[in-house]
Amino acid sequence: MSLLDIRNLTVAYGPRTVLRGVDLTVRSGEVVALVGESGSGKTTLAHAVVGLLPRGGRITGGQVRLDGIDLTGLGERSLRAVRGARIGFVPQDPGVALNPLRRVGDQVAEALVVHSAAPSGGRRALRERAVALLSEAGLPDAAAQARRHPHELSGGMRQRVLIAAALACRPPLVIADEPTSALDVTVQRRVLDHVGALTRGLGTAVLLVTHDLALAAERADRVLVMSDGVLVEEGPASMFAPTRPRAVVGPGPTVDTGTVPRHPYTRRLVAASPAYAPDRPERPAPARTLLAATGLRREYGSTVALSDVDLTVGIGETVGLVGESGSGKSTTARLVARLERADSGRIVLDGADVTAARGTTLRAVRRRVQVVHQNPYGALDPRWRIGPIVAEPLRAFGIGDRAARRNRVAELLDQVALPADVARRRPTELSGGQRQRVAIARALALRPDLVICDEPVSALDVSVQAQILDLLDELQRELGLAYLFISHDLSVVRRVCDRIVVLRAGRVVETGPTTRVFHHPTHPYTRELLAAVPGAAA
């Protein structure tokens, strides 16, 4: 018999229906992944199961049966007895899901106490049990860490605390909503490996909610794909696995997995996922060096953010700068873009030393080097219309009169495949992908030679990601642009970069052509990073 049995579940927020007749079952001990893009309703489904829909949301039809009991008919009091005890919930963001004022050990102990699952033997026994749970969740030196407050722990450690709390009462089912999306890939891999082993050992069923199809295929037994409030496809994980083994040089053989995704949405998702994309074809070496940075160093107070970083970008070339959070990739971008000054080192642009450029020289650098920022939601002034936003660099350099600038804006919007009437709208009226196109149009306004893209697609859904990456590719071919492409996502980098530079803790650990680095990494850290990419093991 299935443990969780969802039948024809319909959920609405006010007049808007967000889940339309969803059927889903999870058997005991099974790992089921629910995959979808933002707005697909996957998180709503997870919340509906545990009766934690946000204000305004309500179940308008269907059943959620856990062990045969319909949860939709239960009151808050009975649901409280289910949550934690029968269904463990691991929330999305480990940064905000813990009470900052309480020690993490107490927060795990709380889960035991509220469900009367505390061991006999008073406070001492409770403390020991909490420490045991934390240590079981993979928190190193749990006895000491249990006395700490959330802010003293890293993101990965906080996520382990949340996992310990979710598993504290040994629930038969754990629902994990994007449990590792906020974590670096290597941390994500360690956490998921550990949780996988742990839940297998305990026989716990897992409903894993994620946007990452490759991750789902790698971690789950069964994968369900959701789009626009409807389940569109369901199948064994192998059906969704990347078909081309990555460890093989060249175009690898296609592994026959028996079945392939059939639904057009799933196919689009697979086509858009960078993990499933082919390698970037090799291109001839650039004619000459456009930008050369040597010995870059930057300190913030006593912490060294960057030391001795060398970097070159050739004309028309895409160089990827990869690393995990805190590796110094954004700092490097800001130094190279001259938004911040390096403490030491040299930056040479097309033969001219621009390390200490100021005033007119610096503005000349700005004309040739432009930046596309990470967050398309913050990069556009909310009070401005799109037209003036795109024209801002032109105005700053006094290029053209009003009419000429308007024409150029229309041309730029066309170049980034936005309809012309977007010029009259405001940023809040645009989607994330459209905003990023606007940011790209603005960066292109001055016809720069080098565009620094700082995580340009990390805030976007995979299908939108793919569109933006295609656009960047097209623009490069048309305009001969060089990109310095900063990303934490190795799959994305592999798809768009000619050469990559791997950063770790402010130092370059490896650099080389993309295919060489991906297929024959020399540094152990690069190997660890590559192994951690979801789907890499497939």
């Binding site: 873009a337 938004l339 503005r363 700005r366 004309r367 432009q370 930046v371 920022h373 990470q374 967050n375 913050g378 990069a379 556009l380 002034d381 909310p382 009070r383 801002e392 660099p393 105005r395 700053a396 350099f397 495949a417 936005l418 309809p419 405001r426 809040t428 009226e429 645009l430 989607s431 994330g432 992908g433 459209q434 940011a439 603005r442 306004a445 001055l446 299908s463 939108v464 569109q467 295609d470």
Partner: protein, 285 residues
């Protein structure tokens, strides 16, 4: 490539004052302020009586049909005096708020945008100003400047500078960190262009809300100073001075102090309500 897949479905945000007026308490607050401003601009529309001419036969009449607010010890109509006092009181208040707003915002902008030593020095001065109770500070300043409506306005304005400086500095620091400010710098916009076109417009919302709140405080402070006798010399009608005049007759003629006092209270409450509403719309957007 599906270009329009990421087209939005959201309508333009509905904004504006009209929506605010649907709240009855807010509508009342706006009405109160509108009436007071109208009285200040054209007192003749609200009363035909001369606020300065007393009718000795009508001394100390309680509020009634002939004299809605009653009459004072010289037989002058109190309602006419309150209406004609609105101009004097509001002028002082508006000047005070403007001084606080302009000086405070400029100091805050400088501190937040330039940073470093400038920030340190300016903010320590602001800390000192904040450490002294507002009314005490106003009293000190007005004692140095001498008596009169203009002096009262300056004194009250000085006391309000610190709050605006604090707020505008924090707003500037917030806006400075945003992506679009960095994008503008990266696009080659000069620093004063960034300040004028991005930082200032995006920092004004909360500052406007504070100005409305400050208006209420300033009405009260101006009245307090003129109650203490620092304001316009008699017989000019002014709200604080009217309350002060009535104080001596409190036992026999309660309306003399109460009526102008209620008007001041109504204006303060109305200003606070509007200030709070502005704050909320700012958070909402």
């Amino acid at each position: 490539m599906t270009v329009f897949a990421d087209l939005p479905v959201r309508a333009a945000p509905v904004r504006g004052a009209l929506r605010l007026l649907r709240r009855p308490d807010l509508a009342l607050a706006v009405l109160v302020l509108a009436v007071v401003v109208a009285a200040a601009a054209a007192p003749g529309v609200f009363t035909a009586r001369d606020p300065l001419r007393g009718v000795p036969a009508d001394r100390l009449r309680p509020p009634g049909p002939a004299h809605p607010f009653g009459t004072d010890y010289l037989g002058r109509d109190l309602y006419a005096r309150v209406v004609h006092g609105a101009g004097e009181s509001l002028r002082a208040t508006v000047v005070a708020v403007l001084i606080a707003l302009v000086v405070g915002t400029v100091l805050g902008l400088l501190a937040g945008f330039v940073g470093g030593a400038v920030d340190e020095v300016l903010m320590r001065i602001v800390d000192v100003l904040l450490a002294i109770p507002g009314l005490l500070l106003s009293l000190t300043v007005v004692t140095v400047l001498g008596f009169g409506t203009a002096q009262v306005a300056i004194a009250v304005g000085v006391a309000g500078v610190a709050g605006f400086a604090r707020l505008s500095r924090s707003e500037v620091l917030r806006v400075r960190r945003t992506g679009y400010v960095e994008a503008a710098r990266g696009a080659g916009v000069r620093w004063y262009g960034v300040l004028a076109r991005h930082v200032l417009p995006n920092a004004t919302g909360p500052i406007g809300a504070l100005a409305a709140l400050e208006f209420g405080t300033a009405v009260l402070a101006v009245s307090a100073l003129s109650f203490l006798g620092f304001g316009a010399p008699p017989p000019t009608p002014e709200w604080g001075a009217l309350v002060a005049d009535g104080r001596n007759y409190l036992a026999g003629a309660w309306w003399l102090a109460t009526m102008p006092g209620l008007v001041v209270a109504a204006v303060v409450l109305a200003a606070n309500r509007i200030g709070r509403a502005l704050e909320h719309t700012e958070e909402g957007t």
